[in-house]
C-alpha cells in the first residue's frame, strides 16, 4: 500500500479529513482508566442512557448480568411472547428484545461470536482475575489496570502494595521491566486453574467481534436476527496496529452484516472520546472509538463531534417512546407504532444544516423514523394495477428484448478492453434518439459483467456512471468521477489534478489501482464547453499508457464527433454504435415481455398503440407510457362505474387506449378552444376570416376589432367594447392559442394564430358550436 504524507492528504480532502494511515490518538492518552475497578458499586450503566431508563439496574450488575446470561441457555434465548400462537407470517421488526436476561435494543453495542470459535471455550470469564493471585476483585480487594497490557492487579498483591489508585497513567512492574529490557517472568496460575480470557481479551485477539445493532427483526420461523455495523480492531484494518492506538481502541466501519440473535454474547460499550474519559469505573467491556474506517477505500475519518450528539439524541428518543409502549409488549410491529416526531435539535450551534454535506447523515435517518400508517403494498392488487406497475418506467424488468445485438457488441467491446493484459484505453460512442434503450443496455451489460467478475471469469473492474444532464456545470464531472473513484469530495480543480495524475503517471487514487475503469458518460453533449476542454481531457486519458480507462459516451446525435474539434474527434476513435428506433413489432415485444402473465389488455390494442408510436418516434418510453395511461384510464372507468359486472371484465378496452393515444398525439388546442368564452370564439373566427381575406400571417388589433364589430352588428350581439376585447385577446395569448404582443401597443398590437395546423384546427373546433351557431358561416 502506498502511504501518503498527512500534509498532502489534508490538502487533498480538507473537509472530510480522512487519512490513509490511522491518525494518532490525541495526546491525553491517559483517559483515566486506572481506577476502572476501583469499586464495584455503580456498575456498568449504559454509556448513553439515563439511569432511569436503563433496562436493568442492579446493585452489582456485573455479577448479576453474568449470571443471567449464563443461566439462560443460549438455545432458547427469547422470552416467550404472549402472542406466540398467532405469530404473523412475515418479518416483524422489533425495537427491543429480551435475550439471555439482557435487553437488546437498536443502537446498543454487543459482542458477537465468530462462527468458528463459538464453542472453543464456552466458559466465559465474567470478572477479571488478578494477574498475580488469580482471584477476582471483591469488595475488599480493589483492582487496578495496567495501561499497557490491560492486566488487572489487586492493589495488595503489588510489590510494593499500593494504598490507593494513583493519579495519571500506571504501568505494572512487568511491563515496566519489559520496556527496560529485563526478562519478565509472569506469575504462574495455581494448579488446576487454567487461564481464562475475558470477552475483552477475546475481542482484541480477534475471537469475538463487536458490533452496533442497527435493526432487529423476527423472521417467519421465529428466530431473531440483527442487522449490525461491525467494529474493527486496529489489527483488522489495512494499516495494522499503530503505535498511537490505545489498547482498547476500536474503529467504527461502514461494514454491515446480518447475524442471528444466538451469536450475540452480551453488551459491550463503545464510547466516543468524551464518554470514555468520563467512564472511570464501568467494568471491563468498555472500548474507545474515535475514528470511522472505510472498508472499501481503507481510509479513516474522525467521527465529528455531532456524531456523538446524534447517538445521544437518538437513544434518548428511543427510550422516551419505548417507555409507554414497551411495558406491555416486548416487541412492536412496525405498522402500529405510534408516530415519532423528530425533536428539534438540542444544540443548534453544533449541528450542521440538513442540506449541507456534513449534516445529511445526521438528519436524513429521521425521516424513516416517522412511520407511515399502512403502506400500499399490502392491499391485493387488481389486474389493472399490476399491469400499470409492470408498465411503469420505474419498474426494472429482468429481460431486455430486442437489443441483444447491441448489447453483445457493448459486451465484446468492454471485454476486449478489459481482457487485454495491457488494458489499453478505448472509447465507444453510442448514439440514438431518446427512448431507444441506450443507457439501459449499457447498464444491463455492466450487471452481466459484474456477475461474471463474481464468478471469477473476468478480472475485476470498476464502473463509474456519470450523466451530463445531472451536472450543474460540465466541470463538475471531474468531481463526480473522483468522488466515485476515491470516496472523497473535493473541488473540481483538485479533482482534475488528481485524476490527471492518476491516469498519466500511475499515481493511483484509492485502492483501485489494479482495476481497469469503465466510465459511462451519459448525455455527452451536455459536457460541451466553449473550448471543449472537458471532453478533451476525459477523452485524452484513455490514450495515455497505463491509464486503464475505458470510456463509453452516449448522446442523441449521430454526428456529434464531427461537430467537435478535430483533436477531440480523433481521440474519440471510430468505434460507434447506433441504436435505431424500435419498430412496432419490437415495441410490442417489449410490452408483452413486461406484461407476461397479466391479462389486462383486449386483443390487438397493444399493437395499435405500438404502431402509432413506431410511426412517430419509436420511443419505447412513449409506448410504455401510453399503455400505462390506458390502464389508469380503465381503472378509473371501472372504479367510477362501481358495478360488480364491470369489475368482472376489468380489461383495457378500445376507448381507453384511444383516450391515451389522444392525450399524447392529439393537439390539446382543440379542446381548449372549445372551452373558450363566447367572445374568445368570436375573436378566433374573426381572425381566421381576416387572415383568409388578407392572406397574411398576422393582423393588428385594429383590423381584428373592426371585423368583430361587423360580426356583432350582423348577428345582433352587443359589442363589449375595445378594452374587453383586448382582455379576451390577452387571455387567448396566455393560453397559447394566439401569439400576441403586449397590450400596451393597443391598436397596433400584432396577433398571430399559434395552432399546429393553422386555421384548420379552429374550423374543426368551432364548427357546429351549439352556443354560437352562426360561426360556421365564416369557416
Amino acid at each position: 500500500m502506498e502511504r501518503r504524507t498527512p500534509a498532502k492528504l489534508s490538502l487533498l480532502c480538507p473537509d472530510s479529513s480522512p487519512a490513509a494511515t490511522p491518525p494518532p490518538t490525541p495526546g491525553f492518552t491517559g483517559p483515566r482508566r486506572s481506577s476502572r475497578l476501583l469499586t464495584l458499586s455503580p456498575g456498568p450503566t449504559k454509556p448513553c442512557n439515563d439511569a432511569s431508563s436503563s433496562p436493568i439496574t442492579l446493585t452489582s450488575p456485573i455479577k448479576a448480568k453474568r449470571r443471567l446470561s449464563l443461566e439462560s441457555p443460549s438455545t432458547d434465548p427469547i422470552t416467550p411472547n404472549r402472542s406466540e400462537s398467532k405469530r404473523p407470517k412475515r418479518r416483524v421488526n422489533c425495537k427491543k428484545v429480551l435475550y439471555g436476561g439482557a435487553e437488546l435494543q437498536v443502537g446498543d453495542d454487543v459482542y458477537v461470536k465468530k462462527r468458528e470459535s463459538v464453542e472453543s471455550d464456552s466458559e466465559d470469564l465474567d470478572v477479571e482475575e488478578c494477574r498475580i493471585c488469580f482471584r477476582p476483585a471483591s469488595e475488599s480487594k480493589v483492582m487496578i489496570e495496567c495501561d499497557d497490557c490491560l492486566g488487572g492487579f489487586h492493589l495488595r498483591c503489588l510489590k510494593p502494595p499500593l494504598r490507593k489508585v494513583p493519579e495519571g497513567d500506571w504501568i505494572c512492574s512487568f511491563c515496566a521491566d519489559k520496556k527496560s529490557g529485563k526478562e519478565v517472568v509472569w506469575p504462574k496460575p495455581p494448579e488446576g486453574k487454567k487461564i481464562k480470557r475475558t470477552a475483552k481479551e477475546k475481542l482484541l485477539l480477534g475471537d469475538l467481534r463487536a458490533a452496533r445493532i442497527k435493526s432487529i427483526w423476527r423472521e417467519v420461523d421465529g428466530t431473531h436476527w440483527l442487522r449490525c455495523m461491525w467494529y474493527r480492531t486496529p489489527e483488522e484494518t489495512a494499516a495494522g496496529r499503530q503505535l498511537h492506538n490505545l489498547r482498547r481502541e476500536l474503529y467504527r466501519t461502514n461494514d454491515f452484516g446480518d447475524v442471528e440473535m444466538e451469536s450475540v454474547l452480551r453488551h459491550c460499550f463503545v464510547m466516543n472520546p468524551e464518554e470514555y474519559r468520563q467512564a472511570s469505573d464501568q467494568g471491563d467491556d468498555v472500548f474507545y472509538c474515535e475514528y470511522e474506517y472505510d472498508v472499501n477505500y481503507h481510509n479513516f475519518k474522525r467521527l465529528s463531534d455531532f456524531d456523538g450528539d446524534t447517538c445521544d439524541g437518538y437513544r434518548a428518543e428511543i427510550n422516551e417512546s419505548s417507555d409507554y409502549e414497551m411495558d406491555s409488549d416486548q416487541e412492536s410491529d412496525n405498522d402500529d407504532t405510534s408516530i415519532r416526531r423528530s425533536s428539534s435539535p438540542r444544540n443548534r450551534s453544533k449541528v450542521f444544516a440538513a442540506n449541507s454535506r456534513k449534516g445529511r447523515a445526521f438528519w436524513l435517518p429521521k425521516i424513516a423514523e416517522t412511520k407511515t400508517q399502512g403502506h400500499g403494498k399490502r392491499h391485493k392488487q387488481t389486474k389493472l394495477e399490476k399491469a400499470s406497475a409492470a408498465l411503469s418506467l420505474a419498474s426494472r424488468p429482468m429481460s431486455h428484448p430486442c437489443r441483444n445485438k447491441e448489447m453483445e457488441e457493448i459486451k465484446t467491446f468492454v471485454k476486449g478492453a478489459i481482457g487485454d493484459d495491457q488494458c489499453l484505453g478505448r472509447c465507444l460512442y453510442i448514439y440514438g434518439v431518446p427512448g431507444t434503450g441506450k443507457t439501459m443496455s449499457v447498464r444491463a451489460v455492466m450487471r452481466n459483467l459484474k456477475s461474471e467478475v463474481d464468478l471469477g471469469v473476468l478480472q475485476p473492474f470498476c464502473f463509474i456512471e456519470t450523466n451530463g444532464m445531472k451536472l450543474s456545470s460540465p466541470n463538475n464531472i471531474y468531481k463526480v468521477i473522483y468522488e466515485q473513484l476515491s470516496g472523497y469530495a473535493v473541488g473540481w480543480k483538485k479533482a482534475l489534478r488528481c485524476l490527471d495524475e492518476h491516469f498519466s503517471n500511475g499515481k493511483k487514487v484509492g485502492k483501485k489501482d489494479q482495476k481497469p475503469i469503465v466510465l459511462l458518460m451519459d448525455e455527452l453533449d451536455m459536457l460541451l464547453t466553449r473550448n471543449q476542454s472537458v471532453l478533451y481531457n476525459i477523452l485524452d486519458w484513455p490514450t495515455r499508457p497505463n491509464s486503464k480507462l475505458i470510456v463509453i459516451g452516449i448522446a442523441n446525435t449521430m454526428d456529434l464527433p464531427e461537430h467537435l474539434s478535430p483533436r477531440i474527434s480523433s481521440r474519440m476513435g471510430i468505434q460507434r454504435l447506433c441504436f435505431v428506433p424500435y419498430n412496432h413489432e419490437q415495441l410490442a415485444q417489449i410490452i408483452f415481455s413486461r406484461l407476461k402473465g397479466i391479462d389486462a389488455f383486449e386483443d390487438n390494442l397493444i399493437e395499435l398503440a405500438c404502431r402509432k408510436v413506431a410511426a412517430s418516434s419509436g420511443d419505447a418510453r412513449r409506448a410504455l407510457q401510453i399503455c400505462q395511461r390506458a390502464t389508469v384510464l380503465a381503472e378509473y372507468r371501472v372504479k367510477q362505474s362501481a358495478d360488480a359486472k364491470a369489475k368482472g371484465k376489468s380489461r383495457v378496452c378500445l376507448t381507453d387506449i384511444e383516450g391515451a393515444l389522444d392525450e399524447v398525439f392529439k393537439s390539446p388546442h382543440i379542446q381548449r378552444m372549445k372551452m373558450c368564452s363566447k367572445f374568445g370564439k368570436i375573436v378566433l373566427v374573426a381572425m381566421v376570416n381576416e387572415l383568409h381575406r388578407t392572406g397574411g400571417e398576422e393582423l393588428t388589433f385594429e383590423k381584428l376589432s373592426e371585423r368583430v364589430i361587423s360580426f356583432c352588428s350582423m348577428h345582433h350581439v352587443a359589442f363589449p367594447g375595445y378594452d374587453t376585447l383586448m382582455r379576451v385577446c390577452c387571455m387567448l395569448g396566455d393560453s397559447g392559442i394566439v401569439l400576441c404582443e403586449e397590450p400596451k401597443k393597443h391598436m397596433s398590437q400584432k396577433l398571430q394564430l399559434n395552432c399546429p395546423s393553422g386555421t384548420d384546427d379552429i374550423a374543426l373546433a368551432l364548427k357546429n358550436c351549439p352556443e354560437i351557431p352562426w360561426l360556421s358561416l365564416y369557416l
Partner: protein, 423 residues
Amino acid sequence: MAGSVQASVALVQLRERLCSRTFAHSLLQSSSDSNFRKLKFHISSSISSACSKVLLLRGDKGSGKAAVVELVLKDLKAEHPDAISVVKLYGLLHNDDDNSALEEIARQLCSGHEFSFSKTASLEENKEFLMDMLKEYGLARKTVVFVLHEFHLFTQGKQWLLYTLFDAMETFTSQSIIIVGLSCLEGSEQQLEKRVRSRFSSCTLLFGPPSEEDGRRLLEQLLHLQKDSSLPSKYVVEFNSRLHKIFSDKKFKEILSSFACADGSINHLLRFLFVASSYMDMESGHLSLQSFESAYSLMKRQPKFDSLHDLSILELYFLVCMHRLQCKEETSYNFNSVMKEYKAIQDAYRTSDNYSHAVCLRAFEHLLDRELISFTDAKGRNDSIRFRPVKLLVSSRELHDSLKSNPSCPAILQKLLDHESYM
C-alpha cells in the same frame, strides 16, 4: 338600526365566502365528473401503489387549478397523515437556471421535517440532498408531491430541474414522486427538450368554465345565507327568498350571460359577486337586482373610452389632426407636423380654439401620459419631445364615438373627422 347590524353581519359572511381561495371550488367537488375527483383518484392511486406520476393541469387563469390542488392535498393529508410531503415551486420565482429552485426544494423539505436548513449550501449539496431525501422517502414509503405552478416557465432553458425529477422517478422504484404541473399555456410540453420529453408522460386534466348547471348551483350556494348562523332566521329566510326571486328574473339572467361572454371563469364570477355585494342596500339588508346591475355596469367599464371622454377640446383637436395625417398616409409624424396641421385648420376655420405653442405642447404631453398616443421609437430619450415621431393608439371608430358622446365638442371637429374618413 338592528337591520343594518344584521346586514353587516350577513355581508361579512358573504364576503368571507367570496374571498376564500378554495370555498367556491369546494362546492363543485362533489359532482361526479369534477376535476377534484379525478385528481384525487390519480394521486391516491399512485400513493397506494407506490408509483410515480406526472399530472398536468391545464386551463385558463382563474379556472381554479391551484385551488383544486390545494383541496385535494388537504384531503389526502388528512387521509394519510405524515405520508405526504408537498413541495411548491413557482415558475416565476424559482428560476430553472440557478440554485433557487433546488434551494427552495431543500428549504421546504427541511421545514416539513423540522430540520435545520442552511442558506449557504451549494447547488451540488442541495442536489445531493434532494436525491438522498428521495431515497429516504422511498425507504419510509412516503410520497413527495411537487406542485409546479406556472409549469410552462420550467420548460425553458436547460430544464435540468425537470430532467432531475423525471430521472428520479425512473430511478427510485419503490416510491411515489408525484409532479403536478399547473399551466395556462398550451403546448408547454412541446417546448420540452427531447430527452426530457422522452421521460415526460402526463395525465392531463382540463379546467374550463363551470357548466350552466354548476354555475347556477354555485351562485345559490355562494349567496344564500346559512340557516343556522347567528342571524335571525326570519331575516335569513327573507334574504334567501329575495335572492331566489332575483335568480329567476329574466334580466338577471341576461346580465349573467352577457357577463360570462368575455370570461366565464369562476374567479371572474366571484369578483362580480363581490362587487355586487358591495352594492347591497344596508338599510334593508337585502341584495336587489339593482345592486347586480350597478355591479355589472361597473365591471364592463372601458377605461380607454373613459379617458377619451375626459379629454379637453384642444386634445381632441390634436387627435383629429393626427388621424387626418394618418389618412393622408403620412407614416411618421411628430409634434411639429401635428402642430402644422392644427395651425392650418385654425387658419382655415378661424375657431375660438386657437392656442399658443406652449399650451399645445402641454396638451400633447398630456396625451402621451394618457397613453392615447405613444412614441414609435424606444430610443432617443434625450431628444426633445417635439421631434420624436409618435403614433395614434386610438382607432377612428373610437374617436368618432367619443366625439359624438362629448357634449361640448364643437361641430366643426366632428365634421373634420367625418369629412376625411367617411368621404
